[in-house]
Symmetry: none
Subunit: 224 residues, 2 copies
DNA sequence: AAAAGCAGTCACAAACGCGTCACACGCCTG
DNA sequence: CAGGCGTGTGACGCGTTTGTGACTGCTTTT
């Protein structure tokens, strides 16, 4: 299930903690002058006050838009009063929406729930997570506990295929076919070398050995 | 001097011909169902009616955003009445701005002149900041730690497209398509030369190398 | 205990992919 | 029209990747 991340510029975040506790799908964080503190996954909403302690709200809006981490967040500006000129400026600065009046708990939740129910289409970046191992299909990169694993193209494909069929013995034939190698027919013993290289790469990144050998049959990606 | 290109969905274009004649800085063209007819250089504005003969205005908005030729145009939607829900939909479909009421000659000119004079307050997609790298779409210039990078047009477009999809492997095919090159079909190996030239230009400005090669797949703009 | 079967590892040659250069073509400018 | 600039392409060379055979050590079978 996707987690919804909400960033706020006001103190309201703390008063929402109980709500977060009850609804684990939500995450709240307060926006500092530099933008979001954490890098998050999933849908994001930002609520930006027109006036902020260290920074004008408009400038914050622009920074959120300029920062690729938050470029596609839904930004709602909070205006003091319903002034047409302010509204225009907010939209121009990159806000998607605005909200008039003080930032209250119900106002935030209403807005988020309303927008969420409207099923916004988001580009779902494919990403596997198998314990400490994360396979990022967009960046074509694998990490073990956030440590990048230096994989060669074939090794990456192999790891991906194994991770897609966890807890299942894959024969050498399966693996060769799974990597789309047809021509010329690959010697099955070559798979052993692939596995060896993949294991070494994972170990070099400080990882364990999720690849178990099943004698006379093949290999398994062990989950848990 | 830059020419300002304006696209319209209504018949208004013809009645603006005299104005164009007097002010050679402006170019008007009517938007067909497929998007702009001509490929133009320089700042672009598009005015899209809420209702269009062959296509819903919202769909046109999305197409303008999706088409790399017009992705950074300033899109203003023309609403029939000031409905909050319509406004929201327009903005979500990619519009930068909206305008209530019929599309008249003065309304168009006012809007364009107002936005143009307001140079600094542009939509956020006009300025990226990725660490030391800043891409200023308005000035069509990139800087590394404030040092301008001498980029040729194609290199600028390439950098822009890469920076818009950070941490994501883009195949040579993606890049060719992303730069809107169709005719004649570009040899994929040409992309290597583009990348090489772009890297050299960045290095010449004292910059690092944010462009990572992913062997046998493509290139990534590395963020952080 | 010997023999056969199986997997891990190494070294190496061939193939592959990429960076780079020089050149040709088209375009605009003076 | 000459010259400069931007750009696409073929060609060359280098480093990396990868499939394979050989050797080794462990396990199972006879």
């Amino acid at each position: 299930m996707d987690v919804v991340n909400i960033f706020l510029t006001s103190e309201l975040g703390e008063s929402l903690d109980d709500f977060v506790h009850d609804h684990r799908r939500f995450t709240f964080d307060r926006l500092g002058p530099e933008g979001p503190r954490r890098l998050v996954e999933g849908p994001m909403w930002a609520f930006v006050d027109w006036v902020m302690p260290d920074l004008a709200g408009l400038e914050m809006c622009r920074r959120l838009r300029a920062d690729p981490r938050t470029a596609d967040a839904h930004v709602t500006m909070v205006l003091d009063e319903d002034d047409a000129e302010d509204r225009r400026r907010a939209l121009r600065a990159g806000a998607d929406d605005y909200l008039v009046g003080p930032l209250t708990r119900t106002a935030v939740l209403d807005r988020v729930l309303a927008l969420q129910s409207r099923g916004s289409e988001r580009h779902a970046t494919q990403k596997f997570e198998l314990g400490a191992l994360v396979i990022d299909m967009a960046a074509l990169q694998a990490r073990w506990n956030e440590v990048p694993i230096g994989l060669r193209p074939n090794e990456f494909r192999l790891l991906r295929f194994l991770a897609e069929n966890p807890n299942r013995v894959l024969t050498r034939e399966d693996l060769i076919a799974g990597l789309g190698k047809r021509e010329p027919p690959i010697d099955e013993r070559t798979v052993d070398v692939w596995i060896g290289r993949l294991r070494r790469a994972i170990k070099a990144a400080g990882g364990g050995n999720p690849l178990r050998t099943v004698r006379s049959l093949g290999y398994v990606f062990d989950l848990g």
